[in-house]
Amino acid sequence: MILILAITIGCLFAGGFYLILRRSLVKLILGLILLSHGVNLLIFTMGDGVRRGAPPIVDKNGVAPINVADPVVQALILTAIVISFGLTAFILTLAYRANQVTGSDDLDSMQGEG
């Protein structure tokens, strides 16, 4: 399972960075989205207990429960998803406005002056 996840994360990162390096603004944003998905999966794999053996939770008597997943990574991913959702919405709006003003989707033609 961890191998499949590792390969998936690798593909998401590779695809994300490839798209970020393109000149088109829309592809840049898609690349950022792929990258954020890759990070979320990466955090997910960090909670599998492979390294520590058990999630960092205990019951009232201080005993670690069995067959429980790590809730911390789920909380982290939930936070990260919400944040990246908001930022994606913002950058899409910004890109739309920039496209309206400059009439271009090419980052190189969007020089600051003018």
Binding site: I29, L42, P56, G62, I91, R97, L107, M110
Partner: protein, 504 residues
Amino acid sequence: MVNHLFLPLVVPLISAALSVMLGRWRLLTRTLTLGASLFNLGYSGWLLWLVSSAGRQVTQASAWAAPFGIALVADLLGAVMLFLAALLMFCTIIYSLLSMEPEYEQFFYYPLLLLLLLGVSGAFLTGDLFNLYVWFEVLLMSSFGLVTIGGSRAQLTGGLKYVALNLIGSTMFLIGSGLIYGLAGTLNMAHIGERLITQSEPGLTTVIATLFLFAFGSKAALAPLFFWLPESYHTPPPAVSAIFSALMTKVGVYALYRVFGTVLPGELVRLAPLILVLGGTTMVLGVFGALNQTEIRRVLSFTIISEIGFVAMGLGFASAAGLAAGLLFTAHMMIVKTALFFLAGAAEQVCGTGDMRRMGGLARREPALATLWFLAMIALAGIPPMSGFFGKLALLQAGVSQGHYLISGWAVLVSLFIFLAILKIWHEVFWKKPVEDLSQRPRLAPALLIPGALLVILSLVIGIGAGPVAELSTQAGTQILDLPGYIEATCGPAGCDAVTLRSH
């Protein structure tokens, strides 16, 4: 225990929410904003006094003991930065009240400023790595709003690059936090430090540290990750440029000092040569960029980058003296850069343009502005009696005493070029004969110079009273590297692993 460390977060947050709701009553919004920033200024001044006399202050969120809940930890580094942020925000709000076009207020200008203050204060106070990420996003979100406020063409295109590069930096930070959770099983900074002192996988820790260097380096505008800064800093109104130059890169600097100094000191020693090389490169690229610009605020933006190189050099010395000198220099640079941006905004208002080729003659026309600029300029160049001299002196002393002769000499050389770049503004804007007829333009309102004058005087005071300030920064530098003390303050004398959940 009183949870007073939440106050500098709660007050700006509530005031921002209220001023969004009360946006129609402008006077009320302005009073609220000014009041909230004044509160933060007073509070953080008191906190700085408390921390310097009574040691670190800690607040546990919802009374969950530290590694389980999120702790807010104020040590000298955090308290100094918190104080400077509140001070500069206060000055910026006064400057905005005097200079901002009223139409920006309907785009929630003042609430955005307060949210920026909230994010910055949270970042300076938190003792939890993931929480630091969240505060970064809070301050980035409001900075995105501020950098594109008004929506001109240059702002939109510059803002896009700013947003995109900052998102990539944040992603790297998130990757590093995820990996460090996998490695240490905790996100509390004291706890991470405690667990990673004795570690089984030093290679993986170095990978994570490098990711953090990338993430915070891109926020701090360290070479080669500074390209978002000169694209976006000069486009918004001058007040926004000023507060950005005061706070945005400094949060990155703070995170570098906190994570490498306190949490991962072993990695600081390992990565120090890389940090020194990056710092040296940043210095020279920033100053050559500055020499090449013709727009006044663009020159200033590039000199920020150059000075970030100096701050990184302080970190790269990997010693208490280096960190103390870096902190002293950061404080000086926040104050002086903000003052310079205020004054540049005033000069642009007189000339109606920020293009230095079309400016000129301000020394005769606006002697008060020219005097203040001159003082801020020699502070930036590092000439006594202004604050810049002692910041640079401390950095060079730390470098030479540790045998880093090459980078110290390099820094002296770069300082000369910084002086040259800033002298170019002096010559073009103030000494040159006016290019365009300025007699028809309205006179500068003297009140607009007050925030800049305040900061210039503060720089002078730091320069004259350098003894106590240097003592405070030395104390702070020692405290940054004192991981056992940080752990004890956050989790108690037995360390974070010994803390157990109490049943309520």
